[in-house]
């Protein structure tokens, strides 16, 4: 069957909803994508330069900013080269002037800050965090409006270095500038307006002093210091004086909101949502895990509680479920309350049975479990918990075992027989249906301690008898100890 027979050409008319469904199967490889991205940039660059040149006449009269004089010279040279129709050299010059928006006249797409020729010597200003005496030790991050205003002012400064490195006494405002994760610090003296540039490099701090302006002081004073927006510095900035620390260890207000949340055993979709809300990116990795059910989070990297900045990536390790055998490790439930233990065992998909037995432990406490903690069990199997009755009666012992596997007997017609050593007394107990995981409890009465006995199980259908184990009964304390026991073996033997 080919494409035509399958009739997928109907999708040529697909509507938006359908396109989005089909797009999920988009087959382009990363290389193809990259090729197309480069192509789109190339076309974009060609187009924007064309339109800049086309617009040059219209907008030259309304330009707000002054172009430096060499700008005009180069443009004129380019024009001349075009008119003269010189050889390659002239052509290249023209191309070059067209290819660089700085040189092309009338570029109206760039923002003011970009298009102005600035003397600002320290690279980009994309984020600024400010510390000032009024709010120390907190900091605030400038919001985009304030940031733009500040950037404009800084760009407007002449940035002439002062030879005298003495600043006036008085308050300083610290402006930490992110600069693509290559942070530096501008210390603005709030008295004389001078600006000290500080940059840590190789353990040394490079400093330069510049004359500032009154305008910047006024502006910094005008920034609203809203306690709700304070960032609390965790790192001890004064001790290390490392200007990159402020970008690492700072979070806004509520500490929890800016650290990795605890996502253990959370549904993957909920976990993603939570990370999105905090502004983190996420990456999902799948792992086999028998503790956490499939599609739930096993752990995160970095771990819960780690402080991150917005936009950082958290790796979510998501459970694929147990490995092929489906085996899970049985936890230790002894000492827990029966309800808690049941809920916990339920997470691992155990079917939980509980039985009360006499014990001195507080009522409801798990005193024994089967299978034992640490054993491997199959998810979905039975888990038997023996819980305390809260009391025991002297002279009574509850003997117990758990039916280990499917016996195949539908009607219980088994007996457990105890043969006591010494006096040769026996005691018989009829027991019910032998479902795997169900516990068989036999109440024995007697007196004294240190009484040895052997327990046998007999199955009337097959007429077979097998030894369950050897025990020492302590009727005075209501307990017994196991000398040896092989429940599984006994059940095999009576089949």
């Amino acid at each position: 069957m080919n494409d035509k027979e399958l009739g997928l050409d109907v999708f040529e008319m697909a509507d938006d909803e359908e396109i989005k469904r089909i797009a999920a199967d988009c087959p382009a490889s990363p290389e193809e994508k990259e090729r197309m991205f480069k192509l789109s940039q190339k076309i974009y660059n060609e187009r924007t330069n064309e339109s800049n040149e086309a617009h040059a006449d219209e907008v030259s009269g309304v330009e707000q900013y002054k172009k430096p004089i060499w700008h005009k010279i180069v443009s004129a040279a380019a024009a001349l080269a075009l008119v003269a129709g010189l050889g390659t050299g002239g052509y290249l010059l023209a191309r070059r002037s067209g290819g660089n928006s700085q040189f092309a006249g009338g570029d109206i797409t760039l923002s003011d800050a970009e298009s102005k020729v600035s003397n600002y010597p320290f690279g980009e200003i994309d984020r600024v965090r400010m510390l000032c005496p009024a709010i120390a030790p907190a900091a605030i991050e400038l919001e985009s409006e304030d940031l733009n205003e500040l950037v404009t002012m800084l760009y407007d400064l002449p940035w002439e270095e002062l030879s005298d490195k003495q600043t006036a006494e008085g308050e300083n405002s610290l402006l930490h500038i992110y600069n693509n994760n290559d942070p530096y610090l501008l210390i603005v003296n709030m008295l004389d307006g001078s600006i000290m540039y500080c940059k840590d490099a190789d353990g040394k701090t490079e400093t330069k002093l510049y004359s500032g302006s009154e305008k910047i002081i006024q502006f910094l004073n005008s920034i609203e210091l809203d306690p709700e927006k304070f960032l609390n510095a965790i790192g001890d900035l004064s001790a290390k004086n490392n200007s990159s620390d402020i970008w690492k260890y700072v979070h806004v207000g509520n500490k929890e909101a800016f650290s990795v949340p605890d996502l253990y055993n959370k549904n993957i979709e909920l976990a993603k949502q939570e990370l999105r809300e905090r502004g983190y990116e996420y990456e999902v990795k799948k792992e086999k895990n028998d503790e956490v059910q499939p599609n739930y989070v096993i752990r995160t990297e970095p771990e819960a509680g780690t402080e991150l900045r917005k936009g950082d990536t958290v790796t979510l390790y998501v459970s694929l479920g147990a490995d092929a055998t489906g085996s899970v490790t049985v936890d230790d439930y002894v000492g827990k309350m029966a309800e808690d233990a049941s809920v916990m065992a339920g997470y691992k998909n155990f079917k939980v049975y509980t039985y009360e037995i006499p014990s001195n432990e507080p009522q409801g406490t798990v005193v024994e479990q089967y299978p034992k903690a640490g054993a491997k069990a199959v998810s979905g199997e039975n888990l038997t918990l023996f819980t305390s009755k809260g009391e025991f009666t002297a002279g009574e012992i509850t003997y117990k075992f758990v039916v280990p596997h499917d016996t195949g007997f539908v009607n219980g017609s088994s007996t457990v027989e105890f043969v006591f050593e010494g006096n040769g007394n026996t005691s018989n107990e009829m027991i019910g249906i032998l479902d795997p995981g169900t516990a068989i409890l036999c109440n024995l009465k007697g007196e004294g301690s240190g009484i040895k006995a052997i327990a046998y199980i007999s199955e009337l259908n097959t007429n077979k008898r097998a030894e369950l184990g050897h025990y020492i009964f302590d009727f005075d304390n209501g307990t017994y100890t196991i000398e040896e026991e092989d429940i599984e073996g006994a059940f095999e033997a009576i089949k």
């Binding site: 999708f11 509507d15 938006d16 999920a24 087959p27 940039q41 190339k42």
Partner: protein, 188 residues
Amino acid sequence: MTNEELQNAARESKEKAQRAIFDQYFSYVYTIIFSKLRSCASREDIEECVGDVFSDIYIYYEENKAGNGDISGFVGTVARRKAINVFNRITRRSVPAVSVDSEEAADIEAPDNTVETVERRELRSTLLSCIERLGEPDSTIIMQKYFFDRSSKEIAELVSMTPENVRVRSGRALDKLRKQLEKLGIKE
């Protein structure tokens, strides 16, 4: 991604914003272009058209014509128009113009034939659902092989299987799909 988020990216750098737009809408744009041009254009033409669409989007976007909020509707419209332009350019020679005065003109159907439009939409949606019901990776293989015209080798790399495996799976998936469609009375 909303326009606001893009604006934020744009403040950091132009290239970043373009990359963000591209990554976000690539599959969508590629699928639109591909669906319109698959019958007439080469892969190179399609790739060029995709590049063209994105360059347009960057420009519109910078001039702030893309609107606020979700820009996917805008992106889709640009992609569709470009694709139709390219389609017309490529097929121009093969489609003869018909004079409105000629006798044949009466036979040309009006473009929005409502009944047919609805039927086709129904068909598309059923077909898509049937393919999706095949489950992964079969649905992906079918779409890539029979809609996007990818070779088994290319698909194999994308779904991390061997080409032989892809061939076998696509054959089986196709049978399964055919049976489903027969049951629904879509295919004979």
